[in-house]
Symmetry: none
Subunit: 195 residues, 4 copies
DNA sequence: CATGAATGAGGGTTCATTCAT
DNA sequence: AATGAATGAACCCTCATTCAT
């Protein structure tokens, strides 16, 4: 009957929060933000409606927290050394990494792209998006520069767009878009790896 | 007084329908489908709520009609000769054409991509999407085949994805994505134009 | 090219009005007053919505006019001689008459009974209802009195109720309520015809 | 604070549901199904509109639940022993019983008869209506048969119709239809009680 | 006499959010 | 920490009615 320690409380809170996040993400991604009602999310999480407001200020806040957590995770994943420099091996594994993430966090990515079309929410996340995007562009531009590519910024923009497009196609129809078999061609066109 | 002639009525109907479609497209594209309420659309069009239902069966029907009209227009734009064959000149102008359309029908394209994340509506349009997509893939694959590219299907898929990605980036932030300056690089990488 | 005579105009008006009345009665009776919209009625009559308001002040007025016309017709049908006296033969034919009308004006009767449950309309017709009802009661009471029945008023009330009940059952399910085969029993119980 | 117990919730739900049912029945019966709006019902019950949908799926469901509950109650009232046999005493009390119910559940009966003229709803309840009706007809037919009446089925149909007619008249104008003073005459004509 | 485009009030319904327990 | 009853604003939609032609 000893009272729970502070740590235990915190763990309970965290795990409950994760429960809600997962339930919400599934519905947000598969039905869309608006059609996924708080009632449905609560039912999907196996808890009461009211409890959600114990952990999140509003439905929008719930979406926002899901997105920021995901964006932060992605930001660190994109630059493991945190040194901002991409070796040739890292470039190769970078591509694999992106598409591995795409598969493993399918729902998150669906949501990620969908959010771009919810201007209201999108605006709130803009700074994070920009930060992530510029970080990536910087790394790629540096990489292309050090490999003697003519217009490194443009090459980076194009490569970024290609990744978006592939992600987009894969997310919306995984069965019709054979991402694995395309990776080699991508490498040939955009990685400039010296044999 | 005699009533309006049939022709007069038809003209009224058509111009009013266009008015509603434009008002709706603007809001659908800029706010999203759900946040764009019928009230807002009506106000934006300068008419009463009720009148919308004189022209469209439901809000969903309104979106659907906008989308199908747009998709049909795109389908015919992508293959003007309707012969399904792309010459080298056509390939070059094809790329320009796409990005010209992107600029001129900015709102429509925003809506087009957003709709993919509205599962319910997306499903209703699936057959039209697939038709358009396979048509394009066929044309591109044939082009690559006739130019001796190794994996023509994959090349086509990749090129399609790149277009999506570029469109996506341009739509969401036209100022930060300098599409014109990228076109030449795209041509170099994906058009295989023999000089 | 001679202008229509006043009489011709009147005839056109009357026939058009009858057209509307029939279309309205069919829908009122079979769908109910509220579910039968002016649009449906117009379509059913093969005319425009607006025209209905050329002949009737409102939807309620349309119902009212249908009802009053019907009630007047019934009132005169119930007392052909207009002498208020029922002979034994008339009593017999009276019963047949009622149920014949029930069959021939099925829709009207359905509406008639339904209207009782639309308090707003019912109130407007109350005086006509009462008039018709008391007229009938008077005739029946006199009949029973002259045939030496103990409580002639009560007998009349009961007989009236029986007719309502039979009409009610027949209207709602003509196939399950064999009105013809019941008439003889009714005669035995309520007509006091001396053999 | 701990949340309410399950029992507390159940009690709240039941009493609130009854509150809504009563408020709805009053308006349905006195104004009709369509004119009785959800807004009015909520106001009459002293609650918000939205709450009604916490207890009933739709307006139609609300009506349906009221009706089915009433029909079930009536079905059991009509055959207390559930043996399907009517003694002479029971027949006498049966008549009193019906008209007592008519008085006590005035509103319910009004609704009951009104519903017959709401084709859409009527159809949904048809099976329950038929069940109740055939049950009653069977009991009456058996009774008449055992009393040597010539056409027991017809006699039962007629008696049923009389009850409907009396109920109908009483409901619509209790003051003008002196049901008590008619019961004896009904007994004389339809109960075949051997003195 | 006749049309149907147009209105606006009100309908049924949903849902994010609050709050007593 | 947890419940779900309760609210109220906003939603999509219908429809009797009006009116320019």
């Amino acid at each position: 009957m000893s009272p729970r320690t502070e740590k235990q409380f915190k763990e309970i809170r965290e795990s409950k929060k994760a429960l809600i996040v997962n339930a919400a993400m599934e519905l947000f991604a598969n039905e869309g933000y608006h059609p996924a009602s708080i009632s449905k999310i609560a039912k999907n999480a196996g808890i009461s409606k009211g409890l959600i407001y114990n952990y999140f200020e509003s439905k929008e806040d719930l979406l926002l927290q899901i997105m920021t957590a995901g964006l932060d995770e992605m930001a660190s994943a994109f630059d493991p050394n945190n040194d901002g420099v991409l070796s040739e091996e890292e470039m190769a594994s970078f591509i694999y990494g992106i598409f591995t993430m795409l598969k493993e966090k399918h729902e998150y990515w669906k949501l990620y792209y969908a959010v771009f079309f919810q201007p209201k929410v999108s605006k709130l996340l803009e700074s994070k998006f920009v930060e992530l995007y510029t970080k990536m562009m910087k790394i790629l531009t540096d990489y292309y520069q050090s490999h003697g590519v003519k217009n490194p910024e443009q090459e980076a923009l194009l490569f970024g767009a290609l990744i978006d497009g592939m992600a987009f196609n894969y997310i919306l129809n995984p069965k019709l878009f054979p991402i694995e078999s395309l990776i080699e061609t991508v490498k040939d066109k955009f990685c400039y790896i010296k044999k």
